[in-house]
């Protein structure tokens, strides 16, 4: 027999009266903090402080390990050693695995650092271990802390007002923040949204505007001074296109309804296990993709494919996006590895504004292969829709950024 909602509650009331006694409840400090962090007057400043703190710890930790340790290890010891011992300097295998080098007045010259060599064993390993690993470790550590304390639902409450305007609601912050680590679990987390419309908007925005930990790590390393601008453009894009999608995608965008659990002391063992599990998961996906992506890009360079495409597409890049012709190669390589593409971009001489445009383009580009596969799992129609939106966004938003640059007189 089934009861309706009212009958069920009546029964529970009767049972509860017989079996449960509620003593006087003492409000604790935890409750007080809980309320202060959700009330807008106090909660919004706290949220800004938490986000700022998150960002500064992320930047300094990742910078400390990458610049202070891995750059030296890879550029001073690993690269020269490998350039020395790997056989066949100048031939194609050497170029793909170690160093594609460059030609100066007809002479083959070796690269001086791991961001310019583009070998699987040099750039590939350096990006995966030297840049991405520290970034991912600190990101997941801080995220696990915020999660286990119970801060995320409160952040969701505070952000509901703005996220509701783009067809989502506060809880969309969960997939968004997860995606900053890796888009793959971010796509899975879209399931906490209620309707198809919301999940589609969320997935599309994630794939386009949320750079993953690998990308953020490398951006932080090679263009630290421009990070603010790049992120600003991505956030603005997230809201502009979210707003438009909300208007054109059919379906419902239901309101926010969530449980806000009490704060609790995080358990170290849980945090440790979680961080470890996520890093392991990330690396199972990322390392093969970084190395393989690096190899494929190397092969395509060797075969002249990228040069050919670059020449063919150069007018679009130069005319429409306002970036130098040389960026065509990296922008095409970005189909395979965004992090490597950012590294390649950093080696090209261009104005800061062009660099901002180029890096934003790489970010909003085609999602990485793993994310692509994950989206396919959620439904091929959604994936095709997302790709259509993506194409439109890359051209309109890329053009818009160029236009803004022209108006500001910097492009």
């Amino acid at each position: 027999m089934k009861l309706n909602t009212g009958e069920r509650w009546d029964l529970i009331d009767r049972i509860s009266k017989e079996t449960v006694t509620f003593g006087a409840y003492q409000h604790t400090l935890k409750d007080a903090i809980g309320e202060l962090t959700v009330k807008p007057m106090t909660g919004i400043p706290v949220a800004i402080a938490v986000m700022y703190g998150f960002w500064s710890v992320f930047g300094s930790f990742a910078g400390f390990f990458t610049d202070g340790f891995f750059v030296r290890l890879f550029d001073v010891y690993w690269l020269p050693w490998l350039q020395e011992v790997f056989p066949g300097q100048g031939d194609w295998l050497y170029a793909i695995m170690v160093d594609a080098g460059g030609f100066e007045s007809g002479e083959f010259v070796l690269s001086s650092n791991c961001l310019e060599s583009f070998g699987v064993l040099t750039s590939g390993l350096f990006v995966a271990i030297g840049v991405v690993l520290p970034a991912i470790i600190i990101f997941y550590l801080m995220l696990a802390l915020l999660e286990d304390i119970g801060y995320m639902p409160r952040l969701a409450v505070l952000l509901d007002t703005v996220l509701h305007r783009v067809g989502l609601h506060g809880y969309a912050i969960v997939p968004t923040i997860l995606s900053l680590g890796c888009n793959v679990p971010g796509v899975t987390a879209t399931r906490i949204l209620e309707t198809k419309k919301q999940r589609f908007i969320m997935m599309t925005l994630l794939a386009i505007f949320i750079p993953c930990g690998a990308q953020i790590g490398i951006m932080q390393d090679v263009v630290p001074g421009l990070m603010g601008w790049i992120l600003l453009y991505l956030i603005i894009g997230y809201f502009i296109f979210g707003y438009i999608l909300n208007k054109i995608v059919p379906g419902k965008a239901p309101e926010f309804l969530i449980d806000v659990p009490p704060y609790r002391r995080p358990m170290l063992s849980n945090i440790g296990k979680k961080v470890w599990g996520r890093i392991a998961g990330f690396f199972k996906v990322a390392i093969p993709f970084v190395l393989l992506g690096c190899a494929i890009v190397g092969v395509l360079y060797q075969l002249g494919v990228i040069r050919f495409l670059g020449d063919a597409l150069a007018p679009v890049f130069v005319g429409w996006f306002g970036v130098p012709k040389e960026t065509a190669g990296p922008l095409i390589a970005a189909f395979l590895r965004k992090d490597l593409a950012v590294a390649q971009l950093s080696a090209i001489t261009m104005t800061p504004y062009q660099m901002i445009t180029a890096v934003v383009l790489v970010s909003i580009y085609f999602p990485c292969v793993a994310t692509f596969a994950m989206m396919l799992k959620e439904g091929w129609k959604e994936l095709l829709g997302a790709l259509a939106v993506l194409t439109v966004v890359v051209f309109t938003y890329g053009g818009l950024i160029h236009l803004i640059g022209i108006l500001l007189g910097v492009a």
Partner: protein
């Protein structure tokens, strides 16, 4: 045999799962990280039993895709037993979900988890009495500390489908006996 671990988000289902299966599933203090289920195995009295850590859900009327996963798992496992993990400090809304599962005819065991939190909040639950009214095993647990897990496992075999009418009758009887006892005490 198959056992589903069900309950609200962050009531410690994953902790139960780890304790039972020796797995390493982690949990977060908000819904959304376990949007997929996890399976594991344990031995109970020599029999291999499959344990499923079902995503958290507040009711059997799913409000999002993650809850849909939970509800359809329940419906696809008609022959399964269910362990309903309830936050003892929020017992009423926990019972709401437990009642929904009972009404669908599943054999159920209730784990009144976070007993320590409930005690801190001055909430006392008469688990024996609750057990008599519902007609199914009710075990107080503190999963993080491993308390009550053994008892829970040993009582799984007592789980059986219950008729809601019986529960209604039991609840009425319970209040009669109590008022009778009160009357006796007063006299």
């Amino acid at each position: 045999m198959k056992i589903l671990l069900m309950g609200h988000p962050n009531v410690g289902k994953s902790v139960f799962f780890n304790r039972l299966t020796g797995a390493n599933v982690t949990e977060s203090n908000y819904p959304g990280t376990t949007v997929d289920y996890t399976k594991g195995w344990m031995k109970i009295e020599g029999e291999d039993v499959e344990i499923v850590d079902v995503p958290g859900t507040f009711s059997l009327d799913p409000k999002d895709r993650a809850e849909e996963v939970a509800v359809s798992m329940l419906h696809e496992s008609r022959d399964a037993k269910v362990i309903a993990v309830i936050d003892a400090s929020k017992i009423e809304r926990g019972l709401y979900l437990a009642m929904e599962i009972i009404e669908e005819g599943y054999p159920l065991v209730i784990a009144l988890n976070m007993r320590d939190v409930a005690e801190d909040k001055n909430i006392t639950i008469d688990a024996d009495r609750l057990e008599r009214i519902l007609g199914i095993p009710v075990v107080s647990t503190v999963a993080i500390a491993g308390e009550g897990i053994k008892e829970l496992v040993s009582r799984l075999k007592e789980a059986k489908p219950v008729n809601v009418d019986d529960i209604i009758a039991n609840a009425a009887n319970a209040s009669d006996t109590e008022s009778a006892a009160d009357a006796g005490g007063a006299a």
